[in-house]
């Protein structure tokens, strides 16, 4: 029997529920921590970022209007499909982050658990951060959280799956749609997550994943007038770049989650900060019935 030829994968982007090639036509080699070839990934350009924002905006109406219960079910389903791809995630995390198999397994398990944890928040967040307000008049007065809109997420550079899940899931919980710029050197778990999302019940465009150099897409996303918020987690440790992105984001008063000085320990308890960062509060005065 002849020796089997290796299948070398060349991945594409994930935009609007489809897997298009980058407009730039460029791709780059992804290697493991020892420099061995893993796969080719697409080099997203600013036009891909623009297309991703259009797709995310288009998907926003449907996703934000879905009931919280329904969003929860869809996100649980994502966790189920992730569980089915567990072995692949473990391989990719181990190779990309240079972890032992045991540590990689632990990271993947934590990622899936985190996704489930966030999925549970879809129909609870309004009860925790919403309120019924006491007013001196014959009115019901209540405040409800609503999604901010299209959120550009710069995924962490080092923690390729747990970090990614920890920044992406909280954006989706409340009904935002996301454009994710993945880790440059470790994009494979993000690509696989894209395949997971495409085969679960998440509507196309709710999550869009761009691989490639952050400098090629992040400034355009930060300056884009149709992006409502930006999470700069991926710019951790690069103060100069983070500052420029914040300046660009200021033009249309985007909500900004600032880049930390160094990438945090993603295994820590996440809390609600990342969910509440991408919420708007709507307060309604309603006359008490006669």
């Amino acid at each position: 029997m002849s020796e089997r030829l290796a299948v070398k994968k060349t991945y594409k982007l994930y935009i609007g529920g489809k897997f298009p090639r980058s407009e730039s036509g460029r791709s780059y080699q992804v290697t493991d921590t020892k420099g061995r070839f893993l796969a080719n990934a697409a080099h997203a350009s600013r036009k891909d970022a623009r297309d991703a924002v259009v797709a995310a905006r288009k998907a926003f109406a449907g996703w934000s209007r879905a009931t919280a219960y329904n969003r929860g079910q869809v996100l649980y389903r994502v966790a189920e499909v992730m569980e089915g791809r567990r072995a692949q995630f473990v391989d990719e995390v181990a190779a990309g982050e240079g972890l032992s198999r045991g540590k990689a397994e632990k990271a993947v398990d934590e990622s899936i658990d985190r996704w489930v944890w966030y999925a549970g928040w879809t129909d609870k967040i309004a009860q925790v951060v919403g309120s019924s307000n006491p007013v001196a008049g014959p009115y019901f007065d209540f405040s409800v959280p609503e999604p901010t809109g299209v959120v550009a997420v710069l995924a962490p550079q080092r923690s390729s799956l747990l970090g990614l899940v920890s920044v992406l899931a909280p954006v989706l919980v409340s009904g935002n749609t996301a454009v994710v710029a993945s880790s440059y050197e470790r994009p494979l778990p993000a690509i696989t997550l894209g395949e997971v999302l495409a085969t679960s019940d998440v509507p196309g465009g709710v999550v869009n994943i761009l691989t490639g150099r952050m400098g090629d897409t992040a400034p355009w996303l930060a300056a884009h007038m149709d992006v409502n918020a930006v999470d700069l987690a991926g710019a951790a440790g690069d103060d100069e770049h983070a500052r420029e992105l914040e300046l660009a984001a200021a033009e249309n008063l985007k909500r900004v989650v600032r880049a930390p000085a160094d990438e945090p320990d993603w295994t820590a308890e996440p809390g609600l900060d990342r969910i509440t960062s991408f919420l708007e509060t709507k307060t309604v005065w309603h006359p008490v019935g006669i």
Binding site: R57, W220, A223, H224, M225, D226, N252
Partner: protein, 335 residues
């Protein structure tokens, strides 16, 4: 080369000359003198090479227009727009809002040119006219039983006169597609020339509704018929029928106006309408105009684009070019 002349589109040099000869010999008056001669002329027009027309339109659509050329194209496209609202739910308030937008498409940037015209139903012409008086933006009104055109000639005339009396500078009439498809060309001819008379000094745009004409040959015939009957503009569609304007159909109409000018010395304008929503689409049409009819048509006097949502996309692209950041629809008016 397969009988095709690259510069002149799908009509071959041979047939173009043939057409000139045919017309010169027959004289226009003779062609239009009877149903039989009109029919003989229209059916004698060279048939459209469908594959060729589509390939040519697709090739021209692949041109890349960037930087300063794109800036020029965006401003030109804005100045060519017939900003249209033709809904049953139109109110005077909506028309006034649209008129304000027509004069100053981007309130944050006075360098944006105004659009060519506002296109409304006849009953809203007076509202639009009052809002646009002295602004240089024209008022166009659809008429003659828009969009189906299924009414009597008397009603069509009255409809047209009412629109003109209310202050319309331009009238967009629909042809009777039923009569055209049944081969009653003389009836269509008669209708167009009657409406043209009713228009008086107002410009007449004739809507062919190409989506209902079934073949490219029919588009060519209808274009010639309309021009012979006195149309100042030929327009693709009402926007109520799908498909509306397409590139190959516009290509055929542009060839017709080009040949008509060659033969008669009278220039007729072209207006694609419906389905043109993005800057990219609009620029494709401009390339088509330049390459088919020629630069003489690259003016709001001779080429219009019937659209409503296109304007916002043009403004967003324009803002992207001036500010360097991608624009968002939140910062432009809804319409």
């Amino acid at each position: 080369m397969g009988g095709r002349d690259g510069d002149k589109g799908v009509l071959t040099q041979g047939t173009r000359l043939g057409l000139v000869t045919v017309l010169n010999e027959a004289h226009l008056a003779d062609v239009t003198s009877s149903q039989a001669s009109l029919r003989q002329f229209l059916l004698g027009l060279p048939s459209v090479d469908q594959v060729g027309a589509e390939a040519r339109a697709a090739t021209l659509a692949s041109r890349s227009i960037k930087t300063t050329a794109k800036q020029f194209a965006i401003d030109l496209a804005i100045s060519m727009i017939d900003l249209t609202t033709l809904e049953g739910q139109d109110t005077p308030g909506k028309v006034r809002a649209l008129c304000a937008k027509a004069q100053r498409p981007d309130p944050s940037d006075p360098s944006v040119p105004r659009v060519a015209a506002i296109c409304v139903y006849p009953d809203l012409v007076s509202t639009a006219e009052a809002a646009l008086r002295g602004s240089g933006v024209k008022v166009a009104s659809v008429a003659t039983g828009f969009p189906s055109g299924r009414t009597t000639l008397e009603v069509k005339q009255a409809d047209t006169r009412a629109a003109v009396a209310a202050g319309a500078d331009e009238v967009d009439m629909v042809i009777d597609r039923g009569a055209f498809l049944a081969g009653r060309y003389a009836q269509v001819f008669e209708e167009i020339s009657t409406v043209k008379q009713a228009c008086g000094s107002a410009h007449l745009k004739v809507i062919l509704e190409t989506g209902e004409l079934a073949t490219y040959d029919n588009v060519r015939r209808a274009s010639w018929l309309a021009m012979l009957a006195g149309a100042d503009f030929i327009k693709t569609s009402t926007g109520k029928v799908s498909p509306a304007a397409t590139l190959p159909v516009t290509l055929i109409m542009l060839e017709a106006v080009r040949d008509f000018l060659d033969i008669t010395g009278r220039q007729v304008g072209v207006k694609p309408a419906g389905g043109i929503r993005t800057t990219k689409d609009a620029i494709k049409y401009l390339v088509l105009v330049n390459e088919t009819a020629g630069a003489a048509w690259l003016s709001p006097d001779w080429f219009r684009i019937g659209a409503s949502s296109l304007l916002n996309d043009l403004l967003m692209q324009r803002q992207k070019m001036t500010t360097g950041r991608y624009a968002g629809p939140d910062y432009f008016t809804l319409d």
